[in-house]
């Protein structure tokens, strides 16, 4: 990246006197324009994203029913966290489901996406068609995805029809059975995730130096061996991004379970619990904020990894 930097002066770390000289080249109007160009978007972003995020962390240490004004906020210390860990039945379920989501995503759709990219990259007949098919779910919203798959898994849906029992009493209830529904949802979420992994991978593979392929080919290595030993390691940046995307998506999961059954009865997720604590029957801002803060703490690691990976070369 450092080679593609196109700054007009030397790197950002230039000595202070140099910078001062540089800045003095700006007219007053230029300086005002620069200030506006950076300032306006930054204020909007910070005010609507970062300020609320930090306030949430603060609120997680308070009691607030959300009905009274800001005056009704009382300091709570770690009590919200303590209560969530000891009293909140849905919390361990949500935690387990989020962990399951992450584990499943890491071991099933992500490798499958990579495998599909490997197959598509061979450019066999019809691979354009398959590629389009795999990309399709990415343009569907998760809400639509939930509805579309409902037609497949509902009591009288496609799967039960194929299994030969669509009786509302005895047929398998794929979304209603708390032991089955999370797996069905994970399958549906994968349907969407695989295409994205594949897309990232195909783009990465196109960028791999073809001479690496040729060299391996001359050495008599098989396609699969070349992929595993040559292409895969050279795609380390893409791999890191895929890991980050997988972790963040697993933590952010919300829409799909919300549209299926509002995240109840086996489909509890941290993201839904936050929502339920704010808009549900009992408005417990403190609990919602504490849950959101936990989500935040868990997202910090992948976010840092992503930033490190992305900006490392620039420094």
């Amino acid at each position: 990246m450092s080679t593609t930097r196109t700054d007009l002066t030397t790197a950002a770390g230039a000595k202070a006197p140099r910078r001062r000289r540089r800045r003095s080249n700006f007219t007053k109007k230029d300086r005002a324009v620069l200030f506006g160009l950076v300032g306006l978007p930054t204020v909007l972003h910070v005010l609507f994203v970062w300020v609320p995020a930090i306030l949430t962390v603060f609120l997680s240490f308070t009691f607030w029913d959300g009905i009274g004004g800001v005056k009704n906020i009382h300091w709570a210390g770690f009590q919200n966290y303590h209560q969530i860990f000891t009293l909140y039945d849905a919390f361990p379920k949500a935690l387990r489901n989020n962990a399951l989501w992450l584990g499943f995503f890491a071991f099933v759709p992500t490798p499958l996406g990579i495998l599909l990219a490997y197959f598509i990259d061979k450019n066999l007949k019809g691979s354009k068609f398959y590629q389009t098919a795999f990309y399709l779910p990415m343009v569907l919203s998760l809400a639509v995805t939930g509805i579309v798959w409902d037609y497949v898994f509902r009591t009288n849906g496609l799967v039960n029809s194929l299994l030969g029992n669509t009786n509302s009493e005895t047929a398998i209830s794929w979304f209603g059975d708390p032991h089955k529904n999370i797996w069905v949802v994970l399958g549906i979420a994968s349907w969407r995730h695989i295409g994205y992994v594949m897309l990232l991978y195909l783009a990465g593979m196109k960028a791999v130096d073809p001479s690496l392929h040729e060299a391996a080919g001359i050495d008599g290595a098989s396609d699969w061996y070349t992929f595993r030993r040559v292409v895969f390691p050279s795609l380390r940046p893409v791999n890191v991004i895929i890991i980050v995307v997988t972790v963040i998506d697993s933590l952010r999961a919300f829409d799909l379970v919300f549209i299926i059954n509002r995240g109840r009865n086996g489909l509890e997720l941290l993201g839904v619990l936050v929502y339920e604590n704010i808009f549900g029957e009992s408005s417990r801002i403190g609990w919602g904020a504490a849950l959101a803060t936990m989500l935040f703490l868990m997202s910090i690691i992948p976010i840092m990894v992503y930033l490190y990976q992305t900006f490392r070369a620039d420094d």
């Binding site: 007009l8 324009v33 609320p52 609120l59 343009v139 509805i147 579309v148 940046p237 549209i259 976010i303």
Partner: protein
């Protein structure tokens, strides 16, 4: 000869594998579309897994006209169009400064934007919801006089969030534009504003197009923010409105199938018409340009 056989075998394995997966990918969509073309009464009688005796667009007509679904499409446009344009405009401004000038804040600022885009929405929305209830707006925007439950509020949060991603992508793209172009502009005595608006902005067009397609799809597909920040069902864009329609149509699943199909058709059209831009947008953001 042996290797030839081996390749042939590998090819057929690949084909079988791709065919199975390809079917898995298309069947749910096609199945829903099939249900949407059938009257509910017939499905009730023969089951959903049956050969249709009647195929028509009655459900589409009912959903769009009688249930007034068209309103939600207008809502979607009213939200997505300004949100995307504003995001691209603001993001291109920041990207321009951090990629064309050497300020000490460049990298930290880019990091702030990029990290902000990756934060979970749930972390942001509790105080944001209270803020929206407290921020006054003129009564012609919202009769309750606050930002909550307005499409303007929804637009603002989309812009604030998506800007993080767009800034990152655009600054990467801008770094690939030769610096000689900027240098010659400066020699000619161009001001910062002219440098941005007349020289760099036109060069950004391909990246803006890709990002625009991608972000339109994302904002169109948004569910969380629309549900959380718009209380009035009639104000919600189509994707979030599906939540209400699900309740309203739940007695008639074939009608809901038509509703869902109507909701995703625009994104399919965009995808097929502008696939290159869509894919380019996604790749621009992940791997460095």
């Amino acid at each position: 000869m042996v290797t030839g056989k081996k390749t042939a075998l590998a090819h057929s394995i690949t084909t079988v594998f791709l065919t199975i997966f390809g079917a898995l990918w298309l069947v749910p969509i096609l199945w829903t579309m099939y249900q949407s073309l059938r009257p509910y009464g017939e499905v009730l009688k023969y089951g959903s897994f049956s050969i249709a005796k009647t195929i028509n667009f009655q459900n589409y007509y009912t959903a769009l006209v009688q249930s007034e679904m068209w309103r939600y499409f207008i809502n979607a446009v009213v939200v997505a169009l300004p949100a995307v344009l504003l995001t691209l405009f603001l993001a291109s401004m920041v990207a321009f400064v951090v990629s064309r000038y050497s300020f000490a804040f460049n990298i930290p600022l880019l990091m702030l934007f990029t990290a902000g885009n990756l934060l979970p929405a749930q972390l942001v929305f509790i105080p944001l919801y209270r803020m929206y209830l407290a921020i006054p707006v003129p009564h012609f925007i919202n009769e309750n006089g606050v930002l909550y439950d307005t499409q303007l509020g929804l637009i603002l949060i989309h812009v604030a969030f998506q800007m993080g991603f767009a800034t990152f992508v655009l600054s990467n793209y801008m770094k690939t534009i030769p610096k000689e172009i900027s240098e010659s502009a400066l020699v000619d005595g161009a001001s910062v504003w002219v440098h941005y608006s007349r020289i760099m902005l036109p060069l950004l067009r391909p990246a803006l197009a890709s990002l625009g397609v991608l972000m339109t799809t994302w904002i169109y597909n948004d569910f969380f923010w629309s549900v959380a920040l718009l209380k009035t069902g009639n104000k919600r864009p189509i994707t979030a409105a599906l939540n209400n329609l699900q309740g309203e149509f739940f007695k008639d699943y074939n009608l809901l199938a038509a509703g869902a199909t109507l909701a995703f058709i625009p994104t399919l059209i965009v995808f097929f018409a502008l696939r290159r831009q869509f894919v380019a947008g996604l790749t621009l953001g992940s791997t460095k340009g």
